[in-house]
């Protein structure tokens, strides 16, 4: 009996042996990618892989994350800022052979906007003329959308209005160039096609669910001479302790997802030279549901904001050196002028609350603070912040708050249906511009989720959107944000996220920490442990 079992065990175990060449670089990448289709991906783990597989007219400078020419060699912008003419490089080839042309660019963009593609982020191309109507099915003819191939190597784009960050958009996955024939042949499962034509520096060697994405160098990429590593493995890892163990045991070179830093150790780990902290475009904030009493009163909301000691939250709970936030848009955002915002002033907070009819919190109704539970390490942070806020508002304002922890999807549903009073929130910037943060609090935006509607705010954002003078535009955004975080306060910004990644800078080169936390794969390489000795002869 025992021997039967033992031999079965050996047999089974031998089933999981795999032999394949080792990767030049192993990266722990966070969650399993939901998709590698540039038109439908929405998350950062996906983006970090797809940035290697496909390329758009523009790509990102690895140091600054600003757009630089990608498949386009150069471009012209019309004086009114509404027409962009891109000239493609003439040596562009798919990884499987065959030229990449202007028609491929047009196809890829129209595909994003086609209703049947059901792209979540199609909105990022709504700056194009006719794009939104085409996506909504109001116009059927793709020729009416503002993207056209003038000849084999020229793409012309017409925008609804001047859009200073449009080149940033051209470097987003949504604008990547994808292979038409493969997609038409395989439909929704085109990612599984073998071989898969790619337009970027890497090809997809294979993608095993929840196991590994392996990329191999695309020798036909226009800039292939500068691609640093031949084979890159990107592993989905869900647990921070597993990530840390794999890294410390030398089975991974780079860990670059913030969820993979054990929160309870973050302050200790950050003292190590191979742990790197950086600022990036993301804000943690609180939403008020202004349709519910007493939070319809701006004085109450301002009192709540003034009573929070944000310094204490980042020092005691988050502990990765997060800067405290007085405004929604992080400092360092391009085309941005910061606003004053609200500081920590409990005396003023009590005064405002008394003016609103609740001296020392007397008569203030009980209410709930809604936050989400999640499987990762971040859940504890939300809970700890909730408890801290509960204590602060109790001590400073004399009011009682209940905590309501919801499962992720229930939490999202509660937030979008305004089924909450106060709710924990966060936002990661899609591109480097105040628009990505401030646009969402206009009255009809699906991400507003506060019930706050302000005609003046809408007008300011709208005016900023049409402004070509970048200084004037920044001033308009500044006025709008003052309304948002200082006068009306439908939200309280708490802090800006700090990004953390870990890798040994003596071994790994080509990762530059930038405000978007984007790292093009083709620049990253591992130094060989033993440098080749040049023979004297």
């Amino acid at each position: 009996m025992f021997w039967v079992l033992a031999s079965v065990c050996c047999l089974l175990a031998s089933g999981c042996i795999r032999s394949e060449p080792p990767a030049d670089l192993t990266i722990l990448n966070g969650a399993e990618p939901e998709t590698l289709d540039p038109a439908i991906l929405t998350g950062q783990p996906e983006f970090r892989i797809v940035i290697g597989l496909f390329e758009g007219l523009m790509r990102l400078n690895p140091k600054t994350a600003r757009p630089i020419p990608g498949l386009a060699d150069h471009f012209e912008i019309s004086p009114d800022g509404r027409t962009y003419t891109f000239h493609l490089r003439t040596n562009l080839v798919w990884s499987t052979g065959g030229p990449i042309t202007a028609d491929d660019v047009v196809y890829s963009w129209i595909r994003v906007l086609t209703p049947a593609t059901a792209s979540d982020y199609a909105g990022q191309l709504f700056y194009l003329k006719g794009a939104e109507d085409f996506n909504a099915g109001k116009i059927k003819d793709p020729a009416l959308v503002g993207v056209h191939a003038l000849d084999k190597f020229t793409v012309q784009v017409e925008l609804n209005r001047p859009t200073p960050f449009f080149l940033d958009i051209c470097a987003l996955p949504i604008a990547y160039v994808v292979p038409r024939q493969t997609i038409e042949k395989y439909g929704d499962r085109w990612m599984m096609a073998q071989p898969l034509p790619s337009s970027g520096p890497y090809e997809l060697a294979y993608w095993r669910l929840n196991d590994k994405v392996r990329l191999k160098k695309n020798p036909h990429y226009w800039d292939a001479v500068h691609t640093q590593s031949d084979i890159i493995d990107l592993l989905p890892v869900g647990s921070p302790s597993a990530a840390l163990n794999l890294y410390l045991n030398g089975q991974a070179d780079i860990v670059w997802d913030k969820e993979l830093v054990p929160t309870e150790l973050v302050d200790l780990l950050l003292k190590r030279p191979d742990f790197h902290r950086f600022d990036y475009l993301a804000t943690y904030f609180i939403r008020f549901n202004v349709t519910r009493k007493p939070f319809d009163d701006p004085r109450v909301r301002e009192a709540f904001a003034l009573a929070i000691d944000k310094e204490r939250i980042v020092r005691k709970i988050t502990r990765a050196g997060e800067p405290i936030a007085r405004h929604l848009v992080p400092d360092g955002t391009a085309n941005y002028l910061p606003v004053q915002g609200l500081g920590y002033d409990p005396a003023q907070a009590r005064k405002l609350l008394a003016e609103a009819g609740y001296p020392a919190g007397r008569g203030f109704p009980r209410f709930e603070y809604t936050f989400n539970a999640s499987a990762g390490g971040a859940a504890e942070i939300h809970q700890n912040i909730a408890i801290e806020l509960q204590q602060m508002w109790h001590d400073q304002l004399g009011i009682q708050m209940d905590l309501r922890q919801l499962e992720w999807k229930v939490y999202l549903s509660a937030q979008s249906h305004l089924d909450y009073e106060l709710s924990r929130s966060s936002w990661v910037g899609d591109y480097n511009d105040p628009q990505t943060f401030l646009g969402m609090f206009t009255s009809d935006d699906g991400n507003n989720r506060t019930g706050w509607k302000n005609a003046r705010y809408d007008a300011l954002i709208n005016e900023a959107g049409g402004q070509t003078d970048l200084t004037k535009r920044a001033e308009l955004f500044q006025q709008a944000e003052t309304l948002l975080v200082q006068d009306e306060v439908p939200i309280i910004p708490l802090f800006y996220y700090a990004g953390v990644n870990y890798f040994d800078t003596n071994k790994i080169q080509g990762i530059y920490n930038n405000i978007l936390d984007d790292h093009p794969l083709q620049y990253i390489r591992k130094m060989s442990p033993k440098p080749k000795v040049q023979s004297p002869n």
């Binding site: 065990c9 199609a122 909105g123 929840n210 999807k409 549903s413 991400n447």
Partner: protein
């Protein structure tokens, strides 16, 4: 005949299970496309719903799902949009089944000898030590045992890898972590079974006939004592084969268990229903195997 009848009856059972799972996951608040960031226009949401027929009534969606099922198509995953549920099962199930079979062998390989040994040494210190071990194995949950094993064998002693699924050595720790509970359970069931068998009349009769104690234990008592273990083995195997979220997550194993839990959390309707059905099929099939094994081991059992 009896077994064929049972197979036929399992079809309506599966239908009920699929309908229930379909309905339950649809009435849960929040949908697969609720995200932290809302799409830029309501049209985008409508496009998504139209693509996956979520704009239809649940009943119609269910019939559409059944139609696919008849053709062996579990539908597209709503979360992992490049993949179908068939892809997910095809890639994840073999891994989970390998690990599950290993854990099953481990559970029997450790549990049966331990149960036999403690029964044979009843009331002595070996019995108490073995009993303590079995109780510990049952009480300590996987999410405690797994990190403990990693710290001791992977980090301190460096005998085994910390995680991943590429070489046989990487299967050892997850096998133990996953199988420990079942091993403890098997040991206790088998010990009880042995003790009961030893006191039963046919054993007394055999002993009176002058049969040797070893022969008695191995040949006669074991056959009866193993029955509770057999009936436990069916559900145990089904449980182990379908993967464990905790163990797969801790050891980074690309199995199916992670998908079931994440599917439910993500409201990935098709994945949840598909995996629930898969689990049901396995459970029904293995229970059938258990019953067949019963008739073979214990002549007193007959199914009509």
């Amino acid at each position: 005949m009896y077994f064929i009848k049972r197979l036929i009856f399992s079809i309506p059972l599966l239908l009920v299970i699929s309908a229930l799972a379909f309905w339950l996951v649809h009435i849960a608040p929040g949908g697969p496309f609720d995200r932290e960031r809302a799409p830029a226009s309501p049209a985008i949401e409508r496009n998504l719903e139209a693509k996956y027929h979520l704009n239809e009534r649940v009943g119609k969606q269910y019939l559409r799902y059944l139609d696919g099922l008849v053709h062996g198509d579990f539908g597209p995953s709503l979360k992992y949009r490049d993949h179908t549920v068939n892809d997910i099962i095809a890639q994840g199930l073999p891994v989970s089944m390998t690990l599950g079979s290993l854990a099953f062998c481990f559970a029997l390989g450790i549990g049966l000898p331990l149960g036999f040994f403690t029964a044979a040494r009843r009331g002595r210190w070996e019995d108490y030590t073995g009993g303590l071990l079995a109780t510990l194995a049952v009480c300590v949950p996987g999410f405690v045992l797994a990190p403990f094993l990693i710290v001791v064998f992977a980090i301190k002693l460096k005998w085994l890898p910390v995680a991943l699924w590429e070489s046989p050595a990487q299967a050892i720790l997850p096998m133990i972590a996953l199988g420990a509970y079942s091993a403890g359970k098997v040991a206790r069931l088998f010990r009880e079974g042995m003790l009961n068998a030893m006191q039963s009349e046919f054993v007394t009769a055999a002993r009176a006939k002058g049969l040797g104690e070893n022969r008695l234990l191995f040949k006669h008592a074991v056959r009866i004592a193993v029955l509770p273990v057999i009936s436990y083995s069916g559900p145990m195997l089904a449980d182990l084969l379908t993967g464990s979220f905790v163990i797969e997550n801790i050891f980074q194993i690309p199995g199916i268990g992670v998908f079931l839990i994440n599917g439910a959390l993500n409201r990935d309707y098709t994945v949840v229903v598909g995996l629930a059905l898969l689990y049901a099929v396995l459970l029904i099939a293995l229970n059938l195997v258990v019953d067949i094994a019963y008739t073979w081991l214990d002549p007193r059992v007959k199914y009509e």
